[in-house]
């Protein structure tokens, strides 16, 4: 196959980003998950909102309500973070500002997800803040062990 790229284009690095298939596919998979969850979420919200504090607590405290909220919030923030990243990479022109915006997006997304999930777990399971922090530390440690094993112990693929 012949090479269609010009020399100047090669020097400037113009061309495909050489990545992004993962983002493309997970964006659509999370969209399907959200589309399936949305009717249940809207129905639950419509039922719970008129009940005020008690109605919302009953919804978030029931197994089905907590599941819908956890799944919708998680898939939603995952999907939204990918979408916002796409908007950033479309409109923010300087590399530094783009990287900064995406980092900020990651921090805001993960923080909001954590706040929401911890709140649902507290309502649903009655976990106290120290118990949740302990769970969080355990999760981070487990991920750290997994990461170390993958990066340092396993042989690199050639």
């Amino acid at each position: 196959m012949s090479d269609f790229r010009t020399d100047l284009g090669k020097v400037r690095g113009i061309g495909g980003a050489k990545g992004g298939v993962h983002e493309f596919i997970t964006h659509r998979v999370s969209a399907i998950v959200l589309a399936l969850l949305l009717p249940f979420f809207v129905y639950g919200l419509m039922k719970a909102l008129p009940g005020g504090y008690d109605g919302l607590m009953d919804w978030a405290g029931s197994p089905s309500g907590a599941f819908i909220l956890l799944a919708f919030l998680s898939a939603g923030i995952f999907h939204g973070r990918l979408g916002i990243n796409e908007v950033i990479s479309d409109y923010v022109q300087s590399t530094g500002m783009r990287s900064f915006s995406m980092l900020l997006n990651a921090l805001v997304s993960v923080s909001a997800w954590l706040i929401g999930v911890l709140a649902i777990l507290k309502i649903w399971l009655g976990l106290t803040i120290p118990m949740m922090l302990w769970l969080l530390v355990q999760a981070v440690l487990a991920y750290g062990r997994h990461w170390v094993q993958r990066k340092l112990v396993s042989k690199p693929h050639v």
């Binding site: 949305l38 504090y53 919030l73 939204g80 706040i115």
Partner: protein
Amino acid sequence: MAKGWTDKRPMSPHISVWKWHPTMLSSILHRATGIVLYLGLLKLAVMLAFLAAGPQWFAKVEPILYSPFGAFVFFCVIGILIYHFLNGIRHLVWDIGAGFNPKLANTVSLVTILIAALAAICLTWLLTGAIS
């Protein structure tokens, strides 16, 4: 217009001389509603935190949630959510390569916006009816 453009001659079709059509409107709305829904999710997370913190904390946000302004926000966000949901399904259909007929695509764009607006009106009416 691109930065550093010095040529005084008129430019060929550009973003500012494009004829508006329904699919263009729905595409722009999809992105705009997506950004608003992300903010809506952040609000959901914060509201859940207020709910989990206890009745005395929820009492601080309850008057705003159940005010006419709260109903207006619910109307906007639920309409936007349903629009993004319907148009998102259309995007998934587009992804498998179907529904590209211009006439059909334009009709679907307008119908989607109309359904979302109607659903927002109905749901807000139902909710405010159930509260008051």
